[in-house]
């Protein structure tokens, strides 16, 4: 009996504790005992149904194990209990079949309503396609304000925090370089698909988890009730870095969203109208710098060494700055070979930077990028040196 009561209390405290901590901080990811605080109507329905189920299960638990532990306590041979020999009682057996059926009907009713609501993806204000890659997401704004915007979203937690035990921030493994941005109060339809294997797009606070299946399109939707930053993970095992492809969603007010869209459009327009620079050129003024490589090679040529020299000079002039290094390859070749190549290129650049007098702790190695992110041929075979935030 004591175990049971303790367990029940543990659960109850857990629920209260989680709600209290959320109320205090208003944070989005630090739920500890219970489902994260919902920010959509659907997530709220799920939350309530979850609570309802917990309560029903707790009541059945108390009833059933109350009887069992009373029997364990009272009907012992050591207490002189003599075994009755009764068995089979049609009334009791019918009762304990019918009553659970009724309880189940009580659960099925609200669940059915929620299923139907979740599945209604019609009349969205904005439609965004989320594509899963090994191991990152990309987002294409397809319909509504912002249509045409496209970007990749990759884990931004530095490898040093993951591999080398560096201090980990609050959003460790839940932070990306380019978050998904949506307006508050609008119905956002998410189409999911994948490039390689099955991934799953999951944002707990929205009550949304939808597999992204290569070659097929699935959809889901959410309407965020309040502004904020909400985080989730890939929820389907997708290979080595399954645990390292988070989802970060920024819900903005309508006006801020409009500003963000305008900024994205302007940047995209500038990029489109700018003359295509000769790849071997090095942006000498400051970072970011790109260092280019020959096909299948990770050896630096003179232009590359010069570019690194410039970056090293800049770092010498900016003592507080840190840089990130990301390796890329072109589109040809096997995925695993390319990954290795991208990594080796990044390592070559890092080693040259260090040789040029940059302290190693000012260099953050990013995971090798498997997709060229727009570049192919020589434009793809590169290492990018950027200032770290």
């Amino acid at each position: 009996m004591r175990t049971m009561a303790a367990r029940a209390a543990f659960f109850a405290l857990g629920i209260l504790g989680a709600q209290a901590s959320l109320a205090e901080t208003g944070a989005t990811t630090n739920s500890r005992f219970n489902l994260q605080q919902p920010v959509t109507h659907i997530a709220e329905q799920i939350y309530n149904m979850h609570t309802f189920m917990l309560i029903i299960c707790l009541l059945i638990f108390i009833a059933v194990f109350g009887v069992m532990f009373y029997s364990v306590y009272a009907h012992r041979k050591s207490k002189g209990a003599v075994a009755a020999q009764f068995h089979e009682n049609t009334t009791v057996e019918i009762a304990w079949t019918i009553v659970p059926v009724l309880i189940l009907l009580g659960m099925a009713w609200p669940a059915t309503k929620t299923v139907l609501a979740m599945k209604d993806t019609s009349n969205s204000d904005i439609t965004i396609k989320a594509t899963g890659y090994q191991w990152k997401w990309s987002y294409d704004y397809i319909k509504g304000e912002g249509a045409g915007i496209h970007f990749f979203s990759t884990l931004s937690t530095p490898r040093a925090q993951i591999d080398r035990g560096e201090w980990k921030g609050d959003n460790y493994l839940l932070e990306v370089d380019n978050p998904l941005v949506v307006p508050v109060g609008k119905k956002v339809r998410i189409l999911t698909t994948a490039q390689d294997v099955i991934h799953s797009w999951w944002v707990p606070a929205f009550g949304v988890k939808q597999d992204a299946i290569p070659g097929f399109i699935r959809d889901t939707w959410f309407r965020a009730d309040r502004e904020g930053i909400f985080r989730g993970n890939c929820a389907e095992l997708c290979g080595k870095d399954h645990g390292f492809m988070p989802i970060e969603v920024h819900v903005l007010s309508e006006s801020k969203y409009r500003e963000w869209v305008a900024g994205q459009m302007a940047a995209a327009g500038a990029a489109a109208s700018a003359p295509i620079a000769a790849p071997a050129q090095v942006q000498a003024a400051a970072l970011p710098a790109s260092v280019y490589f020959d096909s299948s090679k990770d050896r630096l040529d003179d232009a590359g060494k010069a570019a690194i020299r410039v970056a090293a000079d800049w770092l010498a002039a900016n003592a507080d700055a840190r840089v990130t290094i990301t390796g890329y390859t072109d589109k040809t070749g096997r995925l695993d070979k390319n990954q290795e190549l991208a990594k080796n290129r990044a390592v070559a650049v890092r080693d040259t930077l260090v040789a040029d007098g940059v302290a190693e702790n000012r260099i953050v190695m990013q995971p090798p990028a498997l997709v060229t992110e727009g570049g192919d041929g020589r434009a793809g075979r590169r290492v990018e040196i950027k200032t770290a935030q």
């Binding site: 799920i46 149904m49 095992l237």
Partner: protein, 541 residues
Amino acid sequence: MSAVTPEATLGHEHAHDHEHHYAPSGLMRWITTTNHKDIGTMYLVFSFIMFLSGGVMALTIRSELFQPGLQLVHPEFFNQLTTMHGLVMVFGAIMPAFVGFANWMLPLMLGASDMAFARMNNWSFWLLPPAAILLIGSFFVPGGATAAGWTLYAPLSVQMGMGMDMAIFAIHIMGASSIMGAINIVVTILNMRAPGMTLMRMPMFAWTWLITAYLLIAVMPVLAGAVTMVLTDRHFGTSFFSAAGGGDPVLYQHVFWFFGHPEVYIMILPAFGIVSQIIPTFARKPLFGYASMVYATASIAILSFVVWAHHMFVTGMPAPTQLFFMYATMLIAVPTGVKVFNWIATMWRGSMTFETPMLFAVGFIFVFTMGGFTGLMCAIAPADIQYQDTYFVVAHFHYVLVAGSLFALFAGTYYWIPKWTGHMYDEKLGRWHFWASIIFFNITFFPMHFLGLAGMPRRVPDYNPVFTDFNEIATIGAFGFGLSQVFFLYIVIKCIRGGEKAAASPWEGAQGLEWTVPSPAPHHTFETPPTFDPVAHGAHH
């Protein structure tokens, strides 16, 4: 477990005049044996070895998860460990252990002289070690073992190295072994019962195994089909699971779970059978509703074929499909509830004692039912959207598989080990084993409910620091649980080597034919069918 030898004392009621056939000794005795007791012993030893191997993998996983960050293993190896832990425990430990119990106990409980197909019985066991070597050996080939999760979802499983092919062949072999074992069990139960033992007078363990065997025959070929399609997609240019060639990755999941959900009941129905033998014995009172237990078992088995897609609520099925699978799944709670109520009604106004088998049986009811509750929660499709692929699900299925299947296996071992070895186990140590197991089990798996709800996905080698404390608790519990099982091995070895001499029927309330033969059970039993007396042998319902 060599206490039982071909030369062992013969049962007093069986005067033998033909004990002159060739009986090899040493290793050849075990390789050539067709004796159900020898084969049962080998199944149990094999499954325990696999249980320890899978346990080492689990502890490596838990060690990596003790702290956030990557400390011990690379993500790729971590995925290999989670995958192999699942495959080894399901196909190497739990399933063969129940077949071991069936081999040892069914002929004794039914009054049969052996299993129906004694030579096939030998073959179905000896298929397992090569399968295990393929499976474990895949860790050492280039690319390592398969890391696609025990569910081996395509297209991820199509990407794997040759370890995947070894796992596929291992599954084929183990599947063939299971099907042969199942056919043997069906034929034995249907044809070799003692005169007078009608189907509705069989021990509950025989009923649950009969139904389980049919499930095995129905679904193991489905699994073989699924992994064969993966194999041909990998090597022979087919596109069953590739959209580019006109296939569908989700097809794999449908086929897999059509096997996978009945598989869940394959691993729990025999456990229900063991518990249904033990509770009446130690309550000294007949099983409350024998007939309703049989019907509940059959209902669970039939329903298990129409609920598979509840594993796939997040794949994006149409609403009517989701609703159908949600309702069908919820319905399973009814016959499962009937079973739990029956056990408790059997205990009610009994005259109970709590030897180790009874402790594990009551512990089973208590902890398994908690897994049942979380199962019901997962059946609710909208809520499952949040639970799916999180540690909540990991907690759920360990509550039913460890506290369910494994605890029932422990209960059954303590219950029947006097019959196997002729010695009583050390009761004090048995109780220690029970309390250590149930406490460490809960320390390991209860915090996982919280982790999953708060948003920790399963199958990840690293996590946000907010999940650290519960992961630390789980890891500590896991090591305690693992050590408790080494302690169990010690208890069993001690019991084999000696101990208080066990009577033919060491339990006061035990009924059934297995208790009419001496302990240890002679090498050959019931060569002439026993007389089955429903009243004396516990079938007075």
